[in-house]
């Protein structure tokens, strides 16, 4: 069973890695961020597969952290929109 799970982890890595092509192609920042989102989910899946395959349950906590912070980059992206101004508007005329 561990061999199968390791192979599955490698395959998920390969697939999410291919998805990273979207980070290179774009065209919009949203597309690039989607690659990061896919990697976050895929990374969680890889961590879970390796945790069970190797019997290291502590690795599950990595997937837990990734899951909690998965939406974080997407939220932060909306901060970076052109024309967004902070409330104080300092230094931005």
């Amino acid at each position: 069973m561990p061999e199968f799970l390791y192979a599955a982890a490698a395959l998920v890595l390969l697939l999410t890695g291919l998805g990273l092509m979207r980070m290179l192609w774009g065209p919009s920042p949203a597309d690039r961020l989607m690659a990061a989102q896919l990697l976050g989910t895929g990374g969680g899946a890889i961590a879970l597969l390796i945790a069970i395959a190797s019997g290291t349950m502590a690795i599950i906590d990595i997937a837990l952290t990734l899951a909690l912070l998965a939406a974080f980059a997407a939220v932060a992206l909306t901060l970076g929109e052109p024309g967004t101004k902070t409330r104080a508007g300092e230094g931005e005329q």
Binding site: M1, L15, L18, M34, L38, A45, A63, A67, L77, T78
Partner: protein, 97 residues
């Protein structure tokens, strides 16, 4: 019994891999950002969900099994919110039809 559980794991994890494949192909091949987002959410919800389901019988204790389920629920929720946020971002920046 163990053979049945192992077979269950192999089948569900493989199905999960298929959805990750679908997510990647969609992300790379779909024509615009919103459809690509749809592909991404497939991988989030079903790919990870099936892998979690497949790993449940392999968990050595109930705590890790519960953690696995918690992770899936969190990813479902965070993924759904994130895709909404990204979609709103796309709509604001590229006014579509």
């Amino acid at each position: 019994m163990s053979v049945v559980l192992d077979a269950f794991t192999v089948i569900t994890v493989t199905a999960g891999l298929v959805f990750f494949l679908a997510g990647t192909v969609g992300l790379l091949r779909f024509p615009d950002a919103l459809t690509r987002l749809h592909a991404l959410t497939k991988a989030d919800n079903l790919g990870l969900g099936l892998i979690v389901l497949g790993l449940l019988p392999q968990c050595p204790d109930i705590t890790s099994a519960l953690k696995l389920i918690a992770i899936w629920v969190l990813v479902q929720f965070a993924g759904a919110s994130a895709s909404q946020l990204i979609a709103q971002f796309v709509r604001r920046n590229e006014p579509g039809p």
